[in-house]
């Protein structure tokens, strides 16, 4: 736990120095969502119908794009080797880094989601559910993406491959989150879906850091 906090704090401080890291995913998200009304027309009823899906898919893409270099720098400068040698702490370190990444790129997305909802004409009633679904869903996406970043560390293509590996694994989050928002928009109770998102998140938090650690360990072999 201590190591987790040290790494998270360190990464946050580093990210604070280079603004691009948190600003670009946000920018990308705004751009992608803005493209939809431009592409399919501004009719409010049409936009409202696809709002949940568009916002969520855009968030998924922004998350995957920002994750590619998560471990690359430390792999190149040799600190990853040193992580490995601090016995038993690799999962904690992986979790710490992912937490920092989520705070840097995931949280801002949630903070501007009301703006996105307004652009996409999402009914007011679904706003709370959208924020809640992002709050429960994006950490899972960050964990999965972090695993993808660790798996593709030693590969030639990097970013594209990461998206190809992780997108199929993200299907459950996408399905439950968007269905929660659509349910809320049409006046139903989205409790079940939000609960399932929570369960998936708990599941991911307990297991994925170990998978990330295993992937990093595999990468360090020559």
């Amino acid at each position: 736990m201590n190591n987790l906090l040290i790494i998270a704090g360190h990464d946050l401080r580093l990210a604070f120095r280079r603004r691009n890291e948190w600003f670009q995913p946000l920018w990308f998200l705004l751009l992608v969502v803005a493209l939809f009304p431009l592409g399919i027309g501004p009719q409010p009823a049409l936009l409202a119908q696809i709002a949940a899906g568009v916002i969520w898919i855009a968030a998924l893409l922004a998350n995957m794009l920002s994750l590619e270099s998560l471990f690359r720098e430390d792999a190149n400068n040799g600190r990853l080797e040193q992580w490995l040698l601090m016995d038993g702490s690799l999962p904690a370190l992986a979790a710490g880094r992912t937490t920092a990444h989520w705070l840097i790129t995931g949280l801002p997305v949630i903070l501007i989601s009301p703006l996105l909802a307004a652009w996409m004409q999402l009914p007011q009633a679904a706003m709370g559910t959208l924020v809640l679904s992002l709050l429960l869903g994006t950490p899972t996406l960050s964990l999965l993406g972090s695993l993808g970043a660790a798996l593709t560390l030693g590969s030639r293509q990097g970013g594209m491959l990461l998206a190809l590996l992780i997108a199929p694994l993200s299907v459950p989050v996408l399905v439950f989150a968007t269905s929660a928002v659509s349910d809320a928009a049409s006046g139903f109770d989205p409790e079940t879906q939000l609960l399932l998102l929570g369960v998936i998140l708990l599941f991911a938090i307990t297991l994925v850091p170990f998978a990330i650690a295993a992937a990093l360990r595999i990468h360090l072999q020559e």
Binding site: N2, Q82, Q221
Partner: protein, 211 residues
Amino acid sequence: MDYLLTADKVSYERFYRSVFGTVSIHLDAGGCVLLTGANGAGKTTLIKLLAGVLRPTAGTVSSIEQHFIGHQLGLHQELTVQENLQWYLRLWTRGVDRQQAKQRIDEALSRLQSLSLRSQRAGGLSAGQAKRAALARLFLVPRSLWLLDEPFVNLDQASIDLLLSEIRAHCAGGGGAVIASHALGLADLPRSQRLKLPIIRPAQHREHAHE
């Protein structure tokens, strides 16, 4: 005699080929192993195996807690030398406050007379300076076993002498070291053994292969 490191019939395969055949090493307190061999003989691979970064294809390695200064120095380019060392200190130890941390980092840096590097960005250092900054880790937290991959490369003569005397003092005080180096002779270090890795050619490799 206190044991520091044992490698028992260790081998490592890359692309289904053995990198250096099979190696056994035993290191007791006060001893030193000098790894030599031509480029590509597998010195870096062996020292990574001894450090535990790589897992051997066959054989076992066991050792006490060690310092490993590899070919990649483990410095983050955008952080200052002090911040870099602080990162290690915080992960390695518990309950060191800011004042103590600063003191220990200063002390570690001064061992190789690198105090002037303290507030420089690691990305802006010369190759030799970066090496000295990385080597300061050896003195940040005391550990008996040092695994050093080409520690003298890029260092100026004054720093080489300093490091050499530090290694001698370390071994005399009950520590031990495995050093991969071209520049060093056996005479430079007391009680040291040399391990020369041969180049493995495919023809020889056939004889080594067993399964």
